[in-house]
Amino acid sequence: MKLSGVVAFFDKPSQLIEATKKVREARYANFDTFTPYPVHGLEAAQGIKRSPIPYVTFIFGITGCGLAFLLQYWTSAVDWPINVGGKPFNSWPAFVPVMFEVTILLAGLSTFAALLFFCRLPNFKKKAFDTSITRDRFALMIEAPGEGETFSENQVKDFLKATGAKEVRTVYEEGWF
């Protein structure tokens, strides 16, 4: 089985934040934290950049608005113009509600797609290594580097113990099924 990394468990979010800061100072390349709910201050401690999802939402929202206008303009004024109550064929104020709804629809669906993409979901390859993480424990994993690089399991374990972890153990890669 392939080594996945070394995991340390903490009981309190504040302890995890302190430990995360130390891990970051020690310049470990790959590490991640695992919590039952989003803990405030952890993103900064871990050095996670702002999510790019809003850009995706914005671009698709604008696209939806434009597409909805084009569809309505083309069907009502170009492909088969119908005189409805003497209104102009391109009666754009009447197109606004559908433009608005399609803006929201594409923005929302693209937000969801972007969330899955950036979170690498659905994830069926990497199993959750402990069932207590969705309950009440807070974990930090220092991931094993790729082939050819050295990784001293015991050294990492000692380092994590020194950060005040309750439990430290190695984890091997395992799929869900």
């Binding site: 934290t33 709910y37 993103e43 996670i48 069907t75 509600p97 709804e101 969330l115 959750a128």
Partner: protein, 450 residues
């Protein structure tokens, strides 16, 4: 800030009973993990039979045509459209709680948002039944409603508010569903991690998408959640506005008013909150969730019910004022006829239930009393159904031409199918209570930290 102000400020206690994080999982997941109780089966079978009754009547209606309903000239719209507006309105409270209260950083929403969002989705599913079956040939409806290239080379009429409705309610359903599912992912992972039964473990692993609680994921998740809240807020306001356009864009006195969009939105939130109180008062009792859905939560909802109740009261008064102020004799007649004409009973039922009865919530004793709030919430549901009845029926039954005036009476097909829609709604809500966590566990843990 002076120290006295700081001392006076007491943050709300959102979870009582001195619960730990693992208690949250135990208390909320346990209902998903055990075999349903007899009470649940009794409710479920009742809901199924009520829906079956309505579906049978609908089947007879399709076979014989819409003539079995009370519809005729001049009342081309009746109870079905009333039900459509009623159910869409019910949904609005769920989105208000999940999106608008989130943007306003109202942490108390965490106790109730999951159930309220579920209610939104099921209410919209119920609402969507009515415009489809009132076409009489529902299997064609999809071709009439969706713009797609066809052999007749015809397109739908984008200048019609009825088509705007298709887009508004359709988008509302899809986005509410996605928002709800995103909120569910971490909680589905909780059920998965607790599961001992391999089949349950497999199903919830798939549903949770393999969520691991990684903070690299939480960072994206929180941004996406905020975006969904930001998108849903204008969406929910637009949905009932567009529903109100179905009426307001026509030229009929009693419908053709500019106050309709805000009036409909306020009414929707009002009726939706009443439905949330009705459902949660029962759910917290049945599932032992009193420490998570506290009296404090219910009291806040009752305050919103009273506030929105007064908004609709203001709208009722404003409509009368404008009818007089406009100087239009048709407009004036439509409103006098509404309150004192043949449908006076519907008008005064509406006013009593929506404006007078919620005034009892001025008293803290009433706001915090379970029996009182339950009864008031039922009255508000009834009153808001009648509001839509008053708008739809009384405006139509006497239009410009006195020779075409008539008195619309729904038949038992109308009533039976209406009843059936409640069965449909409760089938879904009861399944939700058994299969998914009724409280957002991950969110409630976030507001528990001291």
């Amino acid at each position: 800030m002076s120290t006295t102000l700081v001392e006076r400020f007491q943050p709300d206690i959102l979870v009582t009973g001195n619960k730990s994080l693992s208690n949250v999982n135990d208390d909320i997941s346990v209902h998903v993990e055990r075999f349903p109780t007899q009470k649940w089966w009794a409710c479920f079978i009742t809901a199924l039979s009520v829906f079956g009754f309505g579906a049978t009547l609908a089947g007879i209606m399709f076979a014989n045509g819409l003539g079995v309903l009370g519809l005729n000239q001049p009342n081309g719209w009746g109870v079905f459209i009333v039900n459509f507006v009623f159910w869409v309105g019910i949904g609005h409270a769920g989105t208000l709680i999940s999106a608008i209260l989130f943007l306003f950083r109202q942490k108390w929403r965490t106790g109730i948002n999951r159930a309220a969002e579920a209610m939104t989705i099921f209410a919209v599913m119920t609402a969507l039944l009515f415009p489809v079956i009132h076409t009489g040939r529902p299997w064609y409806a999809i071709f009439w409603l969706i713009p797609y290239p066809n052999q007749r080379e015809l397109w739908v009429n984008f200048r019609s508010p009825l088509l705007w409705d298709v887009f508004a309610v359709g988008t509302y359903f899809i986005i509410s569903f996605v928002f709800w599912f995103v909120g569910l992912i971490p909680d589905l992972a909780v059920i998965r991690d607790r599961a001992k039964n391999p089949i349950r473990k497999f199903i919830y692993t798939l549903l949770s998408l393999g969520w691991r609680g990684s903070n690299k994921n939480w960072a994206h998740y929180e941004v996406a959640y905020m975006l969904f809240a930001g998108l849903s807020t204008p969406l929910v306001l637009s949905v009932h506005s567009v529903v109100s356009f179905d009426f307001a864009v026509s030229n009929l006195p009693g419908w053709h008013t500019t106050i309709f969009p805000p009036y409909f939105v306020a009414g929707a939130i009002f009726s939706g909150f009443a439905m949330v109180v009705t459902l949660l008062v029962i759910a917290r009792e049945m599932f032992g969730l009193k420490n998570y859905i506290t009296i404090g939560h219910l009291e806040k909802m009752n305050k919103i019910i009273m506030a929105t109740g007064m908004m609709v009261g203001y709208a009722y008064a404003c409509e009368f004022f404008i009818a007089w102020y406009s100087g239009s004799s048709f407009e004036k007649y439509a409103f006098i006829n509404r309150a004192f004409g043949p449908y006076w009973w519907a008008y005064w039922t509406m006013t009593t239930c929506n404006v007078l009865i919620p005034q009892i919530f001025w008293f803290k004793k009433a706001r915090t009393s379970i029996p009182i709030m339950f009864v008031v919430s039922l009255f508000v549901n009834i009153g808001m159904w009648f509001e839509r009845f008053v708008i739809t029926v009384t405006s139509l039954h006497r239009d410009f031409l006195p020779s075409s005036w008539a008195y619309y009476t729904p038949t038992w097909f109308d009533w039976g199918i209406t009843l059936g829609s409640f069965g449909w709604f409760f089938i879904w809500f009861l399944l939700f209570c058994r299969l998914l966590p009724v409280i957002a566990m991950a969110e409630i843990k976030g507001v528990m930290e001291s």
